[in-house]
């Protein structure tokens, strides 16, 4: 359980970190909170020759609301910062991000692990990856040639692989529009374990939602799943049910959940067979929709 030897570098600023990564090439890895990377290095699943510590880079630890209503999260913001953020920082439209944090490992993991680190690690069941896909987040990468923006839908390529070049850093995650009625739920054998399946949804009642979701007809919504494919996925078949409108009631939710379960073809492994995961999808989507409507 001891990592292979490496050389440690501490970056002082983002430009310096990127320059160093470019010089060191494929043998280098950036490390922020290290809550996944250090364990992987212990198992020798990762053996970088150089670690570039980016944890102390200035100005990448923030929660900001833009004038257009978007929420921007600095890559080095910890899960714990989001978990303890006040309503002023997030607002009702992004409260789901805060509520989802209780699913991320345990407190001592959340105090060190970062939002950007989790997304760059690209675990198919990670909560931040799922939330990024659900919200159509825009991810900003910074590299030797400057910044580029990548939609979440194009960011995740497969198991632990993403659109970042070896000399690029994820610096900012932008959630473009709030979703007041949203929820994330998941199932694992023990709380804090990696999810076997996770589900996140939003419900859209339009701007005229005055009388509350009980009476206002549904206009649409989103359904995203983790643990059913090499990356988190949106489920258009299930979203069609929400887009058809009507009353947001148990019958509609059951239909949406059934369509989600029918649409996915999850791989089976030691944590659960394909069939088991499909039945988890149905249960979890229904639960998430119930939770979202009651917000």
């Amino acid at each position: 359980m001891k990592p292979a030897p490496f050389t440690y570098h501490r970056a002082r600023d983002t430009e310096g970190a990127v320059r160093l990564l470019a010089e060191l090439g494929d043998d280098a890895k950036p490390i922020a909170g290290g809550q996944s990377l250090v364990a992987m290095m212990g198992f020798r699943l990762a053996r970088p020759r150089h670690l570039v510590d980016i944890a102390r880079l200035p100005d990448l630890d923030y929660l900001r609301r833009d004038a257009d209503g978007a929420l921007r999260i600095g890559a080095l913001t910890t899960h714990h910062t989001v978990e303890t953020a006040g309503d002023g920082a997030l607002g009702a439209g992004y409260a789901v991000l805060r509520d989802a944090m209780r699913w991320v490992g345990h407190l001592p993991i959340r105090t060190r692990g970062t939002v950007g680190g989790s997304i760059a690690h690209a675990d198919a069941t990670a909560e931040w990856c799922l939330l990024a896909v659900l919200f159509d987040a825009e991810l900003t990468a910074y590299g030797p040639h400057g910044e580029r923006r990548i939609p979440a839908a194009e960011f995740f390529h497969g198991f632990y692989t993403n659109a970042l070049e070896p000399d690029e850093l994820l610096v900012d995650v932008r959630f473009p529009a709030p979703a007041r009625h949203a929820a994330l739920t998941e199932f694992a054998e023990r709380h804090g374990d990696f999810a076997i399946v996770s589900a996140a949804v939003t419900l859209d009642f339009g701007p005229e939602e005055g009388a509350g979701p009980g009476t206002t007809p549904l206009r649409g919504g989103r359904v995203a799943l983790g643990g059913v494919a090499p990356t988190p996925v949106r489920v258009p078949e299930a979203e069609e049910v929400l887009a058809a409108g009507g009353r947001a009631d148990a019958a509609l939710f059951a239909e949406c959940a059934a369509r989600a379960a029918a649409a996915v073809d999850p791989p089976g492994d030691a944590n659960g067979s394909s069939q088991y995961r499909r039945s988890l999808v149905r249960t979890l989507v229904e639960q998430a929709l119930e939770e979202a409507v009651n917000r």
Partner: protein, 175 residues
């Protein structure tokens, strides 16, 4: 094998690095390989063996210490990453004369330990939680202690000890 790593294997030479750590309010300088984790430096280089090592991959929580006041897994951090942070270990809880802290007394009173292997981790987890959330309740404490593994007591007595300590601290504050 590259020429460089062959040379390393032949000479046994490993790159070392000076790391300055603030542990329990004292500054320490250690010359260690960059791959040395914080928990290994605490135990092997500083002799602070109160912090235990269990799984070494972030599952069991036996190595929990406070980093800038917050609970963290000392096996999931390289010592070099802790430079510039204040680290607190279980050795910081008791007074200079060895008098146990109120949290340690509560663990004793409630029989919140049997073999004691996990205890330093639970103590530091609770110490960090109580500092951040003095008005905590049993439900919240149960969720927090789920972070660490104890295979003897079954958690009930640990939850009771932490809850009791929190209540006593609140009562003292009100007096």
């Amino acid at each position: 094998m590259t020429a460089e790593s062959t040379a390393q294997a032949r000479t046994g030479y490993r790159e070392r690095q000076l790391v300055v750590l603030d542990v329990n309010g004292t500054e320490h300088e250690v010359l260690v390989e960059p791959r040395r984790t914080l928990v290994d430096v605490l135990r092997h280089d500083l002799g602070l063996t109160g912090t235990h090592v269990g799984c070494e991959h972030g599952i069991c929580g036996a190595c929990t210490v406070l980093v800038d006041g917050r609970p963290a897994r000392a096996c999931l951090m390289f010592a070099a990453q802790a430079e510039g942070s204040a680290v607190r270990t279980v050795e910081s809880l008791a007074g200079p004369d060895g008098e146990l802290s109120d949290l340690q007394e509560a663990f004793t009173r409630h029989h919140a330990l049997q073999c004691g292997f996990c205890t330093p981790g639970f103590l530091m987890l609770a110490e960090g939680h109580l500092a951040a959330c003095p008005r905590t309740d049993k439900a919240e404490i149960r969720e927090v202690v789920a972070a660490n593994l104890c295979r003897c007591t079954g958690y009930q007595t640990i939850v009771e000890a932490i809850d009791d300590c929190a209540r006593q601290r609140r009562n003292r504050e009100e007096d």
